[in-house]
């Protein structure tokens, strides 16, 4: 049975010019990137543009890239900021409600209603933990926060969420 190469090994292969390694990375993370982009920008075409921009960004960063965690922790801020920029640009050009919290598109309506009552930092740790399935260490690496801060933020976010959904 062939052993699947890790993201770090694939990155090293890409740095040697291996296009197949890049394709493996792309196929591995494509759906995650486009889904995350859609949650932040709420538009299918914009999500596809963000997907393309994100992998172009990865190509530009490849030469000096040393992965210390999963590739998703490296890509998360790139996807998020690009998608939010797209959302802002669309808001400027159309009558979209700018105050609608980001990162909720595609979630069920009642979930969004509860989600919207939480503060952005609380939402973000909850999303990374329960929607993206990141470990505490990965959340800390993604948000560039100490693990202790992530734990406490998650604790308070869960307590707030418990209260919002009416659980005693």
């Amino acid at each position: 049975m062939a052993v699947e190469r890790t993201d770090a090994e694939l990155i090293e292969a890409c740095q040697r010019g291996d296009a197949r390694a890049f394709e493996t990375l792309y196929r591995r993370h494509r759906d995650w990137v486009v889904s995350l982009a859609f949650r932040f920008c709420g538009n299918h075409d914009d999500a596809l543009d963000v997907l393309q921009e994100t992998f172009h960004y990865l190509l530009r960063k490849l030469p000096g890239l040393r992965l210390s965690a999963k590739l998703t922790t490296f890509l998360y801020p790139a996807v998020k900021h690009r998608a939010i920029d797209r959302r802002r640009a669309a808001t400027r050009m159309t009558a979209l409600p700018a105050e609608e919290p980001v990162g909720m598109h595609g979630l069920p309506l009642d979930v969004r209603e509860v989600w919207a009552t939480l503060g952005p930092p609380q939402r973000e740790v909850l999303e990374l933990r329960f929607l993206e399935g990141f470990s505490l260490d990965e959340i800390a690496a993604t948000l560039r926060l100490p693990v202790g801060t992530v734990k406490s933020r998650l604790h308070y976010a869960l307590a707030a969420l418990r209260q919002k959904i009416g659980e005693p």
Partner: protein, 123 residues
């Protein structure tokens, strides 16, 4: 554990977004081109340096051999060069300063002698 919070969190599913094949092709095609260009960069750099060196050398030496005494430009110094130099001196043809093998500042019969001795000397 089947409390309301767990049920709520279980409902969190990332949205599914379909990616058309054309988008895959565009992204992967661009990646192949970028990676190929990066892989070829050292080769292209060496080729560029060689091209400059050859061009410079050609301009500097006009296509003549760089080996002193290689009068006929065949890449080696032998008795034929002594003969060709003799003919050139007799005809008054253009002479190259790299044929001044005894270093006296002139290309003349003494250089033919040096060439002759060199070409028959035991190495």
């Amino acid at each position: 554990m089947d409390d309301p919070l767990t049920r709520f969190l279980d409902r969190l599913e990332p949205p599914s977004v379909e990616v058309p094949e054309a988008v895959d092709r565009r992204i992967l095609g661009h990646a192949r081109w970028v990676l190929l260009r990066r892989r070829m960069m050292p080769v292209l750099a060496v080729a560029a340096v060689l091209l400059v060196a050859v061009t410079f050398g050609w301009q500097r030496y006009g296509g003549r051999s760089l080996q002193p005494g290689d009068v006929d430009g065949d890449g080696s110094v032998n008795i034929v060069d002594a003969y060709v130099l003799a003919v050139r001196l007799r005809d008054g043809s253009e002479l190259d300063r790299t044929w001044d093998l005894d270093g006296d500042g002139h290309v003349d019969e003494r250089d033919i002698e040096v060439l002759g001795k060199r070409s028959v000397a035991l190495r």
